[in-house]
């Protein structure tokens, strides 16, 4: 199938305006005749549900958490980008567009990214009007800070809790529509399948997580705002419940899955401390402004450290390797996320890693403290140091922090066109769940921007065009397709419950995570990927033979919830491997060891891989079909990134 991005023709800066004008509208009196389902209540879902309800549509909003306010958008720390140019430092919509395209290593669609930059300014206005308490200057106007990958200060923030404040803003708008009777809320409800009729999305099947009841819901359109799939790695900075189930089941109903191998691995996380570890915690990137990254020069010293025979402070200056400063003298410790992560892996692979596990590097504030005083460092990073101490029990003012990269964000996701429509008409995907705006690497403070852009300012326009075309004839769940989908869901649950094997769900999830991290993590190659593919197939077979899921469907059953999600991760994992194998180039977060410069840096292959890889599901245990959307760059020049 030819993938038509439906990007409007014409000059970049006029595309969105023209497109809005050319889109069909739904008459205000007719809007109440249309029903829209929104799955997920993070920034994208809550903002979309609220905005659509304000327009007059009848909305149903679903989330698996006990309240829409708990979606994982809430954990975002740093900030949100917007091309306001309040600082008068040369920012513009085009510059934000350019930085995002370049930061994504030239693997995203120009028209989408430009629109994102364009509406970014509206987002800040909207959030302020809602009462989001952004940081302010003494004059009462909004404050900004700078972030990685940009030379201007365009990041708006609310201390280290920007995601929380933005989500609570969207949640308040959503709550207002619930009170108005325009949105019906379904918390503790998981989407189990999409229902399609004549190729169009017409509803979903859900499981009530308290009662286990399987229900069907019909609508004129379905929006999946269900976040990323980082938990395929078991350990990540995602919330424990974050999962791929909604997106994956949509994929199996015909929605193409784009660039699944693009994952972002964040360099500064608290390292794994043992097998019991359930999740990883991010330490803000800002720490690299003052912290120096190092490991011992020799394997012998690293071993002594690990055994506790010597302390980090015992290691003399000449025995330390500040490897980022050594290899990248001009950017030093502030190289981009993907470069910092890969280098940490390299030194640990050489056996020079620290921590009991050997999987960590030092982030040392000794020199900064000597230079600026402990109080100055406390003023800058006090809350982060406290958090670190709480988790590790070590005092980072006295001994260097230990950090290691961890899975943080997934740039891949459901393929969408310019309207955010998947390849299934009537099925939309917003926020991290889609693939659209970040290419092969996301810049800091851009995830919040994209989630809210999609929900507040894009989908409310684009969905009208579709709805106006299909007309407001009522849809209901009596169609046989609903019964069929419902039966499929019930059968799958029964199958899980009937296996009664010997191994726990977490056993399989951890095993999968281990394979993914080892072979499809920071560095990938054909040999490893091929091996991993076989291992995942074996693991999946074993899962369906030997998993132990206790209890029944008709109750709150957290093991069953997990099992159902892990079953989907076991399938997605293989597609990620296929995608990583296919993309024999390095770009952004995807590093193929076969494709590097003589200095060991990522080497893109624009001639052969300047496309979006969109995979079509062809049936159980059948290879997926690769479809390509060529990426055409009319407004930026493709260059090799260098940080030497």
């Amino acid at each position: 199938m030819i993938l038509d991005s439906k990007s409007p023709i014409g000059p970049l800066a006029e595309k969105w305006t023209k497109h809005k004008f050319n889109s069909k509208l739904v008459n205000p009196a007719n809007k109440r005749k249309y029903e829209v389902i929104v799955v997920g209540t993070g920034l994208a879902g809550a903002s979309a549900a609220a905005s659509l309800a304000e327009l007059g549509y009848k909305v149903k909003a679903f989330c698996f958490q006990d309240s829409p306010r708990r979606a994982h958008s809430i954990a975002a720390q740093g900030g949100i980008n917007a091309a306001k140019n309040y600082q008068n430092d040369g920012d513009s919509v085009f510059r934000l567009f350019y930085d995002t395209i370049k930061g994504g290593d030239y693997r995203s669609r120009e028209s989408n990214v430009y629109r994102l930059a364009e509406v970014s300014v509206n987002i800040i206005d909207q959030c302020v009007a809602q009462g989001v308490p952004f940081a302010r200057e003494y004059g009462g106007l909004l404050a900004n800070r700078s972030f990685g990958g940009a030379q201007v200060s365009r990041t708006f923030y609310a201390r280290g809790q920007t995601g929380q404040q933005l989500l609570l803003g969207a949640y308040s708008a959503l709550s207002r529509q619930v009170a108005n009777g325009k949105v019906k809320l379904y918390p503790r409800t998981e989407m189990m399948d999409v229902v399609t009729i004549d190729g169009h999305a017409r509803g979903i099947v859900t499981r009530n997580l308290i009662t286990g009841k399987i229900e069907t819901h019909a609508a004129h359109a379905v929006l999946l705002c269900t976040g990323g799939y980082g938990n395929v790695f078991f350990l990540s900075t995602n919330a424990m419940g974050s999962n791929v189930t909604a997106a994956w089941r949509a994929h199996k109903k015909g929605a193409y899955f784009a660039n699944p191998c693009y994952t972002q691995i964040h360099p500064t996380c608290i390292p794994v401390s043992g097998d019991h570890q359930s999740k990883l915690t991010l330490m803000s990137e800002s720490l690299r402004n003052d912290g120096r990254v190092w490991v011992p020069k020799t394997v012998e010293l690293a071993q002594k450290l690990r055994k506790g025979e010597i302390k980090p402070r015992d290691i003399k200056e000449e025995d330390r390797d500040y490897y980022l400063e050594r290899k990248y003298p001009s950017f030093g410790n502030l190289v981009p996320r993907d470069v910092a992560s890969r280098n940490a892996k390299d030194v640990c692979d050489e056996g020079r890693g620290v921590n009991e596990t050997g999987q960590a590097v030092f982030l040392d504030f000794r020199d900064a403290i000597n230079r600026d005083s402990e109080d100055a460092i406390r003023a800058r990073y006090g809350n982060l140091f406290d958090m670190y101490q709480q988790i590790t029990g070590e005092n980072p003012y006295q001994t260097p922090m230990k950090i290691y990269p961890a899975v943080h964000y997934t740039m891949g996701g459901l393929w969408v066109d310019y309207n955010l429509s998947t390849t299934v008409p009537g099925l939309y995907s917003l926020g991290e769940a889609n693939f659209s705006d970040h290419g092969a690497n996301r810049l800091g403070a851009s995830a919040l921007m994209q989630g809210l852009a999609d929900g507040y300012f894009v989908v409310p326009y684009t969905i009208g065009d579709y709805l106006a075309q299909i007309g407001p004839a009522p849809v209901d769940t009596n169609h046989p397709e609903f019964a069929k989908a419902e039966k499929g869901v019930k059968d799958a649950i029964q199958k899980l419950l009937s296996i009664n094997g010997a191994k726990t769900v977490d056993h399989f999830h951890k095993a999968l995570g281990h394979i993914m991290w080892e072979y499809c993590g920071m560095a990938r190659n054909a040999e490893g990927l091929t091996k991993a593919k076989g291992m995942i197939q074996e693991l999946r077979k074993e899962f369906w033979k030997d998993v132990k899921v206790l209890g029944a469907n008709e109750e709150l059953n957290q093991t069953l919830e997990k099992a159902s999600r892990v079953a989907d991760f076991l399938e997605l994992g293989e597609l990620m491997i296929d995608d990583a194998l296919n993309r024999n180039e390095s770009c952004g977060g995807h590093f193929r060891t076969e494709s590097q410069t003589p200095e060991g840096e990522a080497l893109r292959d624009d001639e052969n891989y300047a496309y979006v890889a969109a995979w079509a599901f062809k049936g159980e245990n059948t290879p997926e079909e690769l479809n390509k959307e060529p990426l055409v760059f009319e407004n930026v020049k493709l260059t090799q990134r260098s940080y030497k």
Binding site: E54, Q65, D66, S67, R69, R70, A71, I74, A75, K84, N122, I124, D125, Q126, V128, A129, Q130, G131, V132, P133, F134, A135, R136, G139, G140, L141, L142, A158, Q161, G163, Q164, Q165, L168, S172, A173, S175, R176, V178, A179, L185, P187, T237, M240, S273, G274, H276, S278, K279, M387, Q390, I391, T392, G393, Y456, D506, K548, L550, G551, E555, L556
Partner: protein
Amino acid sequence: MKLTLKIWRQKNASDKGAFVTYPIDGISTDMSFLEMMDVLNEELAVKGEDPVHFDHDCREGICGMCSLYINGHPHGPKQTTTCQLHMRSFSDGDTITIEPWRAAAFPVVKDLVVDRGSFDRIIQAGGYVSVNTGGVPDANEIPIPKRIADEAFDSATCIGCGACVAACKNASAMLFTSAKISQLAMLPQGQVERMSRAEKMVAQMDAEGFGACTNTGACEAECPKGISLTNIARMNREYFSASVKSENV
């Protein structure tokens, strides 16, 4: 570490529930409290027993999903969320009692999981500024003194976990409700609906069956985000002035 866990088990909302004692061994001080619970649940699952159900999600102290009343304190002995509590806060041989939040307005769903939907309904009663998407003024057209913005932020930092209710002998939701009322009452954006907001949110809080406030300050002492009692004073002021001027008599 070797520990004895006394955990509240309750099959569902209509079950009576009881404490069940579980010995557990091999707990490392680096584990978070919830990871210790994971270890217990893996052991139970292997034995074929129903795992202990508890709420949790982000495990970084911000989503407000985790709860647990540990040794008589919501979120345990430290002023933090349960997910940020680590086992080094306990000693080898300790007995740890783990219960759900106890409040009429937070009915138990199963084991340690409770229904906090009442909090959502309090927000739905008025915890917002009534602006639609689009058509709002430029962000810098609403200047806000830094001190006010910072204070509003302090109130807005509430994570809605319900520890304040669990800590209160009256199961009062005054700290939660007042934090939202305060945030919006301090900001210029919240002025238009200031009076009706206070009235409606307080009315909803009462309708949900939360208790009254007797100023013991337990909520503030146990709040993982340090939400201050000042918010309650501010809410009372808002509510009083709203009832004097109310058009809803």
